[in-house]
Amino acid sequence: MLTVRFGGLAALNQVNFEVQRGEIRAIIGPNGAGKSTFFNCLTGVLRPTAGKIYFNGEDITGLSSDRVSQKGIARSYQITNIMPNATALENVRVAAQSRRHSWNMVRHCMSFQDLVEKAEQALDKVGLLAKANELASNLSHGEQRNLEIGIALATEPTLLCLDEPTAGMSAAETHETMALVRRIAKDFTILIVEHDMPLVMELASRITVLNYGAVLADGPPAEIQKNPRVQEAYLKT
């Protein structure tokens, strides 16, 4: 049960939420429903006012975001968060490096072969291996968004949280990203916040609808589509 209060207003009000391993779970809801707040709590950016978060049986409530990342939850952001002056490979390699500790100050970072390989694998999964040595700022918007997913993948997460991965993409790029997510879905559990309804309906195995900080409905796409309260919430009828 998760509650987050901002001042007097509950951004999330007693939200109960469970994800099973291997699901592709979409979180949708109209403006201000609390989707970002939920993600922020999950990934340690925000501390919930009340309630607990359990991951893999462990209580991770209130852990800082770097600790949460170490536990195996990775996140991509709504506003692209890559390092523009580094190559695609370097962006991902740094993420891979976070999982491995080395005090060695003399070896060149690229000589850690296993890390470079992990990075290349992640790039391959998101279809950017050909652009490994390209500066991240030179990539197209869609490629940058996918790089963001690649960075998350390189941390070898158990749970992948995607925050509006197709924001600002053309129809073609959206299609590609959708295919990408389907490809990697078999290896991870995925939580995705999106506004693009056709995408959500096709991709998700289960959908949770938030409205005014509370869970409005929860179920497979077909059920959600038929739910009159969900339509009401979106159309404000």
Binding site: T80, S170, H195, N227, L235
Partner: protein, 245 residues
């Protein structure tokens, strides 16, 4: 679907607008128009680019491609303060009133223009206070002390001070109680009666269908459908497709 054609040349025309935020391609060629005195609704889900369309028209965001015309002349890269003086009022999504200025000073930023006589200022103030008596009560209070609904009214009143030909209204009912929502509806109707055109961005579909003469439906940065509001109802499958789930 045919739209009811405006009786004269359209007031505002937007053609093939492409807007980016950095590399993020938000508007993929938006085309729409608003006739003189018309209330036109712009609806669509979150993140499709409705607010961005308004911001681009107002010159607050740069259009990379495409054209915007006001009464026939191109205003695509015109500075926002000039557009305000030419008759475009803007009421943003988060109201954005000047919190440290009093209600009166907020209104002042609108009517303190050249060519406005003292008597006209008084007339404008009287008019706005008639529409929004609450603002008259709070005229010397700082904007930041007003409630959400009052701030929304102040934001609209402030734009009205410009005596605009068209008001760009961005989600005026968001976060407001139902009683205030109907008040906003009344204000839109009143402005329409005065001949002020309104481009209304909203997520509240029933309100938009009732208040507007025509609507445009947007998805993923483009206009997907437009028609007269007389030709469509809330239960239309198109509405479900583009706005619902």
């Amino acid at each position: 679907m045919s739209a009811t054609a405006p009786s004269s040349e359209p007031l505002v025309q937007v053609e093939g607008l492409h807007t980016y935020y950095g590399k993020s391609h938000i508007l993929h060629g938006v085309t729409l128009e608003v006739g003189r005195g018309e209330v036109v609704g712009l609806i669509g889900r979150n993140g499709v680019g409705k607010s961005t369309t308004l911001k681009t028209i107002m010159g607050l965001v740069n259009a990379r491609q495409g054209e915007i015309r006001l009464e026939g002349s191109s205003i695509t890269h015109e500075a926002p303060h000039r557009l305000a003086r030419r008759g475009i009022g803007y009421v943003p999504e988060d109201r954005r009133i000047f919190r440290l200025l009093t209600v009166m000073e907020n209104l002042r930023t609108g009517f303190d223009r050249e060519g406005v006589t003292e008597s006209r200022k008084k007339m404008l103030l009287d008019k706005v206070f008639a529409y929004f008596p609450v603002l008259a009560e709070r005229r010397d209070q700082a904007g930041g002390t007003l409630s959400g609904g009052e701030q929304q009214m102040l934001a609209i009143a402030r734009a009205m001070m410009l005596e605009p030909k068209i008001i760009l209204l961005d989600e005026p009912t968001e976060g407001l109680m139902p009683r205030m929502v109907s008040q906003i509806h009344q204000i839109i109707d009143a402005l329409h009666k005065e001949g002020v055109a309104i481009l209304l961005v909203e997520q509240n579909v029933p309100l938009t269908l009732e208040a507007s003469q025509r609507i445009y439906i947007m998805e993923k940065g483009m206009v997907r459908h437009h028609c007269a509001t007389s030709e469509i109802t809330v239960n239309d499958p198109l509405i479900k497709q583009y706005l619902g789930v």
